[in-house]
């Protein structure tokens, strides 16, 4: 039985692909004919589909746990020395397995939609499940035709080549699943948009139904991106936390578009406005998720050679993306003109500020897309390979974010339809002044006062104070704010906290490269670093060196840091730095080993990064806010009428 696991996995994957393509066709037909028996098949079909893909995924996981190196994918990404938890993570450590994970999560989302949407119009539900089934089917085809993880080797390998050491890290165990949960989650909003367009029913109820799914997908993507950035921060050894690398951008673009979508859905839900725009955003967000998955997974961006080395994959990618996006936009062109918004709003109102939010976020998405694809275009034109780096992105991105942050402070406290400027100025004018004043003091406490740092901190304080003030005034009036309101303000404060982290660490970090022998010390930003000892270290699948460095400030011990340098047996030519970090609330002290100098001395890189941790606290708070908003009663069918 065990010997047949790869075949079992492959068989259930084939069955899943056939089933998903058929059930998509069946459900579309059912919805078109309004045949209630056909449409009722949506739930059992979604259940069967997820069971088959789950079985296939379980087979692959078992192959990794059993060290079955007769399967090429297992032999390439695992080894007997690899610790068990990383053997499970290795299932999605390569192209094939991670696509299977993508497919599994898509099927689970489909099942969740099928099970929790009894209140939804049967024809709409059938179309939503049909769209998601077809997406699953085309991904499954891609897996089967170009990248099956179950392919056997002609001659079984005796030992595996092991998972890339860079990926052997707790952060990277959960990073891809979270990211994919986000990518795939946007398929629900996408399927709702397509289903809604086909049924011609894009209304407030449609938007309200889409909101929690979109927000939950966004929560996962936020956490995934934050963990990826945290990983880069401690693993790459020089304390950078965002690189505008194409792979990062691939996840950041759907995040930006998804953030815009959440906000435009709110306007469609509450006021019935921006209908066609919301639908378009839902299509674009998922298209960017598709693009992101494929750009990363095909290796098109990180190394342009991968495109040429497996042209079948590249071609499949292009055709699939063109079909999905092209067909959706064609449907949009045909059906969107019938969508009409009757509600009117004044130039100063919640609607118009949400519109500003959407415009800024979309321009930001577009500029990241341009910067990411430009090198690809230049290469396609055969002009050589180029990198568009942080200078471009910072120059374009920061000026777009400043007005967005400003609007973020006003929007949540502005009324729908119309709000008098005089009243807003009276309520918030002094908040702006106080924020500016506090920001100057804050920045002055950290280092030399610079305009950009003051603006960044002031905007963050502005958002926070305005949110807290709104909550306080609601509570004072005896209202009990809904969970959605708490969630919104919490997520916005999360943005503010991340902005403080980004502003202050970019402006005031300091670093030093030193060479220390045991007993010697160096100082940086008021901290004193003393190298106690350095010696060899032996891990399960690596050898390494570990240093012990005490950090003190004003004579008081702060921490003992143990940075490592590891050489994995599978990749002797590529030493890995394991930085050691003292994560204080106000600053991180970061130590990384460079190279051994002579017999006992070490080259050591020291970093002082004020408020850097706030970037991730902020990300966490954003995700938490999203989760709280999802839990609001108004999104639960049946409960709302009782209110």
């Amino acid at each position: 039985m065990m010997a047949m696991l790869p075949e079992l996995g492959l068989f259930s994957l084939i069955a899943a692909v056939v089933l998903s393509l058929l059930s998509g066709a069946l459900l579309f037909t059912g919805a078109a004919l309004n045949d209630s028996r056909l449409m009722a098949a949506a739930r059992p079909l979604a259940f069967a589909l997820s069971t088959l893909v789950l079985l296939s995924f379980a087979c692959l996981t078992a192959l990794f746990l059993l060290n079955d190196f007769s399967v090429g994918y297992v032999a390439q990404h695992s080894s007997t020395l690899l610790p068990t938890v990383y053997r499970v993570a290795a299932v999605w450590g390569g192209h094939e397995g991670s696509l299977l994970l993508w497919l599994l999560l898509l099927c689970l989302w489909t099942l969740a939609v099928a099970l929790s949407s009894r209140a939804l119009d049967p024809a709409l539900l059938a179309r939503v499940i049909a769209v998601m089934s077809w997406i699953a089917g085309s991904f499954g085809l891609f897996l089967l035709l170009t990248s099956s993880p179950f392919t056997r080797l002609d001659i079984p390998a005796l030992e595996g080549r092991e998972l890339n050491p860079m990926l052997q890290d707790p952060g990277l165990v959960i990073h891809p699943p979270l990211l994919y949960m986000g990518y795939v989650g946007f398929s629900v909003a996408f399927a709702m948009a397509i289903g809604g367009l086909m049924s011609g029913r894009i209304d407030a109820a449609w938007a309200r139904w889409s909101r929690p799914w979109t927000t939950f997908a966004w929560v996962n993507l936020t956490l995934g991106i934050a963990i990826g950035s945290l990983w880069a921060y401690y693993e790459l050894g020089w304390g950078g936390w965002w690189f505008w690398d194409p792979v990062e951008n691939a996840s950041f673009m759907p995040w930006l578009a998804g953030s815009a979508l959440m906000h435009s859905l709110a306007a469609t839900d509450k006021r019935g406005v921006f209908k066609s725009w919301t639908v378009l955003l839902a299509i674009l967000t998922f298209s960017l998720s598709l693009l992101g998955t494929f750009l990363v997974r095909s290796g098109v961006l990180s190394s342009v050679h991968a495109f040429a080395s497996d042209p079948s994959r590249g071609l499949f990618i292009l055709v699939l993306t063109a079909l999905v996006v092209g067909a959706s936009l064609l449907l949009f062109a045909l059906k969107a003109p019938a969508l009409q918004s009757h509600a009117r709003f004044e130039p100063l109102s919640r609607e118009s500020l949400l519109l500003a939010n959407n415009v800024l976020l979309c321009v930001a998405t577009g500029s990241v897309l341009l910067g990411t694809l430009y090198p690809l275009m230049v290469d396609a034109l055969d002009l050589g390979k180029l990198s568009v780096g942080p200078p471009y992105f910072n120059a374009v991105f920061v000026p777009l974010m400043l007005p967005l942050l400003f609007v973020l402070g006003v929007g949540p406290v502005t009324r729908w339809k119309a709000h008098a400027l005089a009243e807003i100025t009276r309520r918030l004018g002094w908040v702006l002044l106080v924020s500016l004043l506090l920001a100057v003091l804050w920045v002055w406490g950290v280092g030399n006062v610079s305009a950009l740092a003051v603006i960044g901190v002031a905007l963050a304080l502005w958002i926070t104070l305005s949110a807290l003030l709104d909550l306080a005034s609601r509570l004072r009036k005896g209202q009990r704010p809904a969970l959605a309101v708490w969630g919104m303000h919490l997520a916005h404060i999360g943005v503010a906290i991340a902005v403080i982290g980004i502003t202050l660490t970019s402006g005031y970090e300091s670093e030093r490269d030193v060479a220390l022998a045991p007993g010697e010390h160096a100082t940086l930003a008021g901290y004193r670093f003393t190298l106690l000892s350095a010696g060899p270290l032996e891990g399960p699948n690596y050898l390494g060196e570990q240093a012990s460095i005490t950090v003190s400030r004003n004579g008081k011990a702060v921490a003992t840091l143990k940075p490592e340098k590891r050489v994995y047996l599978s990749m002797p030519g590529m030493p890995m730095t394991e930085a050691a970090i003292h994560d204080g609330l106000l600053a991180h002290v970061y130590v990384a080993l460079a190279d051994k100098i002579g017999d006992t001395a070490w080259g050591i890189r020291l970093y002082h990064k004020p408020f850097v941790g706030w970037i991730w606290y902020g990300g966490l708070l954003m995700a938490l806010g999203g989760l709280i908003a999802v839990a609001d009663r108004r999104y639960r069918p049946g409960k709302r009428k009782a209110q």
Binding site: V325, V378, D379, A380, R605
Partner: protein
């Protein structure tokens, strides 16, 4: 129902994008004319990465053939060409113009991959790169004994471009 066409705009934009991408795959404009070709290399004085108190200016290279290689630690293609730059550096002095980088990251990058450069001036605001007409990283310029730019290579150097173009040109100029 006026302005029906506006709803097809997203589709039209997408079709143009796909069309452009597909069409561009066939084109092959290998040589890119450079405004600076056969003109004197623009003068500059920039601080060095290893030692910001010291500085580099092209005048210091007068009388020898040299390469100006524009790089940055954030640039993936630079990483791929770095070993080849190291080989070139055995034949001809190479100056590494570090473009819009973080000093720490750049130093760590050189410590990891090796430092083949005679000097690494730091172009923090990218002004010098603009003077040279650099529009992407990496780029490599061949500059002759009189300080005239004789060749500009876009993107990472390859084994082929070194053997077929760069080395023959360098030998000719050195003679």
């Amino acid at each position: 129902m006026k302005k029906q066409w506006i709803w097809a705009l997203p589709l039209a934009v997408f079709v143009v994008m796909v069309g452009f991408f597909a069409a561009s795959l066939d084109k092959d404009p290998r040589e890119l004319p450079s405004q600076r070709l056969d003109k004197p290399a623009p003068a500059f004085t920039l601080p060095l990465l290893e030692n910001p108190q010291a500085s580099f200016s092209p005048a210091q290279m007068h009388g020898q053939v040299w390469l100006l290689n524009v790089w940055a630690s954030w640039c993936a293609a630079c990483r791929s060409e770095h070993a080849l730059i190291g080989q070139l550096a055995k034949q001809v002095p190479v100056v590494g113009l570090n473009q819009q980088d973080e000093a720490g990251a750049a130093r760590a990058w050189l410590a990891e991959l090796g430092n083949p450069y005679l000097a690494t001036p730091t172009d923090d605001d990218g002004r010098v790169s603009i003077d040279y007409g650099v529009y992407g990283v990496p780029e490599t310029f061949v500059i002759d004994k009189q300080g005239v730019i004789r060749y500009r290579h876009l993107g990472p150097v390859t084994e082929q471009s070194i053997n077929d173009v760069l080395l023959p040109l360098i030998r000719k100029l050195q003679a």
